[in-house]
Amino acid sequence: MTATVRRRHPARPWLTAAAGGLALVVAAAVWHLTLGAVHVPAGEVISALTGHASTPGEMIVADIRLPRVLVALAVGAALAAAGVVMQGVTGNPLAAPDLLGVTAGASFAVVLALTVVPRLAEVSTVALALCGAAAAGCAVLALAGRSKGSGLRENRLILGGVTVSALLLSLTQGLIIFHENNAESVVYWLVGGVNLSQWREAWTILPVALAGIAGCLAMAGRLNVLALGEEMARSLGQRVALVRLCGAALVILITGACVAVAGPIGFVGLVVPHMARRLVGSDHVRLLPVSALFGGALLVLADAVSHFVNPPNEVPAGVVTALLGAPYFVWLARRDRKSA
């Protein structure tokens, strides 16, 4: 499979796609840096980026816009890479990283704290979201791993994830309904966005995203073997269950960190791997970096677009990714049906 893929997609289009992705990231970031309530001339944007933040405009770029762009970039790239791994380990093109219960777990933990135990929210909602994400992820792995003999099966992973997510989502809804009093505070944990991100968030997510993407890349070869089918992979000597477990754990870590910093951002992890697969084929060695680039660019663009939805007010980027992602997916599904 890998060989045929390579033949159909020779090296040049792959490099073109990667270069295109990089160019898109840079263009999106530069565009984003020029947007905002305060007009900052391009010259000041550049001088702010080169480390001279002395005028108010330069300070706005350096201290408000740049960290926000970096967080969007890191979260988008990491979620897209996690999406590729998720689809790889489950063998399901509709699997998204938030399917592993992580997002629902993070939202539930924060909403629980904000509504029932306000004292908990004094710590930090980021820490709470991480704990919730980790707990839900572990629950999914435990549910999925409990099949006799055959180890971690892809369907069980998805079923476990869907079950835990549905349970946690309905519990979250229940909390919101019974504590409608405090519902104002929880909206962010249902949509997600990077509009409040500052340097602290950037320094939190950047290393995690880089390490996570590196981890995904390290798995690329094994994911290629797994793509040949479970039987074939086994006969080639792959420990399928272990690969799935590692992949799922990686996805949980990445998504947990992303949701803690930026809330639940949908569609990036689902749509971007599809887009990238159309450009470079299904070889994970190529698919992962290209997906990461496009994922980063997509979230930066979505956050930039959020400036225009309801100016001068801002709309969380999670709304924009869903608005951009949903029609693309409809188009993709219809196109696939035609070609099938």
């Binding site: 309530a37 929210a121 104002e184 944990w189 602290r200 801002e314 599904a333 099938a340």
Partner: protein, 334 residues
Amino acid sequence: MKFSILRPAAIALLLVTSLAACGGTAGSTGSQGAAGLSGGTGGGAGGDAGQCGKTDRTITHALGTTTVKGDPSHVVVTEFSFADGASLLGVRPVGVADDSDRNRIIEPIRERLGDYTSVGLRKSPSLPVIASLRPDLIVIDAKRNADIYPQLSAMAPTIALTSQEGDLAANIAAMRALGQALNRCAEMEKAVTGLQDKLASIRTRIDGLPAKPKALFAVAADKTFTAHNGAAFVPSVLSAIGLEPALPADQAQPQADMGLETLVATAPEAMFIANYTPQNPITAWRANKLFAGIPAVASNRLFSVDPDVWARNRGVTAAEMVAEQAADFLLSAK
């Protein structure tokens, strides 16, 4: 494959409808606010003052006209400002939507109310509880409770008045309509005049300030910072005591979320913040030197205010308290 088409299509549809719904709400709020303003100057609901004294009074309100007979004594209200208004006139509502938390009603109103039955959340009051109280008048919020107006009208005469998302003038107009419904127009007029006199005296109290700061009122909760502009209740109270709103009135959207950059660009000279949660954008922004440069922060005029008084209660008593506290804060920070 069919499923995979349906799901995103359904999600897209859901998103589009929900966005459309959001837009719709904003639009209708705008027209209500505008109607309330004219009501405050004698038109609209306030124009029916002649109804007082009649046994059968036709009350014109946001969702239509309702005939109220006699002097209602079993009144149910779904907003704190209506509980305030009724109790100011000596009518203690038998049922109050208090978000199932008595302490959300500010103390002076709570004391006047005495014992009442909670009818649940202001957003979604319990219909069975309201019915069990056998009310002879129900007063609901024109925006939040519009969907249950038909059911409530079947139980008892129901009037829908402005509270949430209405400015001071709209809330005063609502108080006048409430006065007619309770057949106590003169008492209500006295309460309104009392409020206006009080605001005027507070205005002169802060005349001594070297310069009157442009004020911003916002509600901070976990990950949202919602700024209220001149069309919202608190900024209109503040402008009644001579503090210009840092954000001009936007009738279509009296409250909107704001980021740090917009806040820096708005450059308020005084900030009154109601904190719903201990960790919120303000606590996160404190580390940012641009935040420290905002005139209100640089001049130590960033004040943390009681969310119940400033954000959840509107009406005569809350307006007086907001104005009083704002003046106290500013004079002590001088």
